[in-house]
Amino acid sequence: MTNLELQKTANEVRKGIVTGVHAAKAGHPGGSLSAADIYTYLYFEEMNIDPKDPKKADRDRFVLSKGHTAPGLYSTLANRGYFPVEDLVTLRKLGSYLQGHPCMQHVPGVDMSSGSLGQGISVACGIALGAKMSNADYRVYTLLGDGEIQEGQVWEASMFAGHRKLDNLCVIVDNNGLQIDGKVEDVCSPYPIDKKFEAFNFHVINLDDAHDFDKIRAAFKEARETKGMPTAIIAHSLKGKGVSFMEGNADWHGKAPNDEEYAVAMADLEKIAQQFA
């Protein structure tokens, strides 16, 4: 895909996020929007996947360690053709397969259930190790929040990944700087994030603009070409990206827009769409 196509697609993913969370009257738009370009790049460009065969054996795997940003994953999967985009409005509703946090038994394309922070990266390490033990050459990607890395298990897993030289593993930290209680450095600073992963024997890539597809492309290429150690991409992003009143505002971590706010949000995204037209 060209950058323009990726930008258009990411904008559609953002519309799906806002629409799903609005319909659910609950959910996590902020961190879904900050990671929308990463999600889009992974599923439309980077990963070896097939929406018609979600379980194909040699597919690349994705574990959403920051499971609360399920609206971002679901919207990406829907736009990629795993299930109808129209179903996004069933998010979080009784009887819907689109559970509040990803459930692998119910959602086509979801490789692992998640939601409890810090656990997805361990599972991603296990899949990556399993691939190596089976001489399979698929890659494993996992997306973490920058608040999530306050969980100790993240560093248990990182020690393991570095020790085992899991170069088929790519950890992405969505570094949008905000968590529920405020700025990550005010709550309990995880910085320096890059130095920490380096200390755990990762190859670290500082992606200074996680909304620039040239830079995203370069980061994932570098990760793919890195041998002998796992890669961590520290993706500097803007929480709420694309929706004016959500950008950089921790209040929109886990809150749904009301009808008026939804109209403003969709108008914002429509304006962006027109820029690409």
Binding site: R61, C103, M104, Q105, D111, M112, S113, G115, S116, G118, Q119, G120, I121, S122, V123, A124, C125, G126, I127, A128, L129, G130, A131, M133, S134, A136, G152, Q153, E156, A157, M159, F160, H163
Partner: protein
């Protein structure tokens, strides 16, 4: 009786892993720096490339096991019951139980027979914790033969399984040519008419010993061995309760949430009967030899006998 063979079920675990490892190349074993104690060392020696030491990080090990199962392996994650079921409970619940992954948890050093290490390491809560996870099979073998059979059965079963093993050597009681093992099936080891003793793990041998002592007093005790606590062989227990009218449960575990609770859950649905729960009576253990602790906390044959007598009085 002096020649009774005794084997710690953790030894059986290690030996059975080698057997299933030979049969199935997908079997892999994980440890958290306790391979020497969980007795998986024999597997490590036989299949060094299929043994993964995760270091002292049980929560991560749980996720690694989950990931390995997603990659087509059959992982046995090993640690002490305290850490596998206790420390990593939420990881077992969310990373293994919720997605219903094909992970086997081999939890050794369960109960007070951990001995000298004391209460910090004596897990009397693991059966209770694991029972609450939907879809989790929970087994507590009584001896070497049952422990090995449980490991083999776990490999054949698709889904999460928790198996509880002990540190101390226990008598082999199932060494007979007719022995068959099936997940979810209990066994009547001794028929009786006055009281039913439902036991698991090391308490099965204690229950058999207690039944001998009771017989001398003219009391006929039926002894049921329950290896699979979940799913429980409810029919076997209810039918026995209908015959005897009184039920005693015996386990090296808290009386809250373990076998005793599972038996009460089963009985209260269709045949409410008086139940005496023998086990750790909502207390922590302490340091001491396994034998001394089992005696003090009345989990040996004499202790079970006395409590049954009191119950029937």
């Amino acid at each position: 009786m002096a020649d009774i063979k005794k084997v710690a079920t953790r030894e059986s675990y290690g030996n059975a892993l080698v057997e299933v490892g030979k049969e199935n190349p997908n079997v892999v074993v994980l440890d958290a720096d306790l391979a020497a104690a969980t007795k998986t060392g024999v597997f490590k020696k036989a299949f060094p490339d299929r043994h993964i030491d995760c270091g002292i990080a049980e929560c991560n090990m749980t996720g690694i096991a989950a990931g390995l199962s997603l990659a087509g392996k059959i992982p046995f994650m090993s640690s002490f019951a305290m850490f596998a079921a206790g420390r990593a409970f939420e990881q077992v619940r969310n990373s293994i139980g919720y997605p219903h992954l094909n992970v086997k948890i081999g939890a050794t050093h369960a109960g007070i027979t951990v001995g000298e290490d004391g209460a910090s390491h004596q897990c009397n809560e693991d059966i209770a914790l694991m029972r609450t996870i939907p879809g989790m099979v929970v087994m507590c073998p009584a001896d070497d033969i049952e422990a090995k059979a449980a490991v083999h059965a776990a490999v054949e079963y698709e889904g999460p399984v928790y198996i509880r093993f002990g540190r101390a050597a226990v008598p082999v009681i199932n060494d007979n040519p007719d022995y068959k093992f099936e997940i979810g099936k209990g066994t009547i080891l001794r028929e009786g008419t006055d009281v039913t003793i439902v036991a698991t793990g090391i308490c099965v041998d204690s229950a058999l010993g207690a039944a001998e002592l009771l017989a001398k007093d003219g009391i006929s005790a039926e002894v049921i061995n329950i290896c699979t606590i979940k799913p429980l062989d409810e029919e076997l227990i209810i039918n026995s309760a209908k015959k005897t009218g009184k039920v005693v449960t015996a386990e090296e575990h808290s009386v809250i949430g373990g076998l005793g609770s599972a038996v009460c859950d089963a009985l209260c649905k269709s045949f409410p009967a008086p139940v005496c729960k023998i086990g750790m009576q909502d207390i922590f253990g302490e340091s001491g030899s396994a034998a001394a602790l089992v005696e003090k906390y009345k989990l040996d044959a004499k202790g079970v006998y006395e409590q049954v007598k009191e119950f029937l009085a």
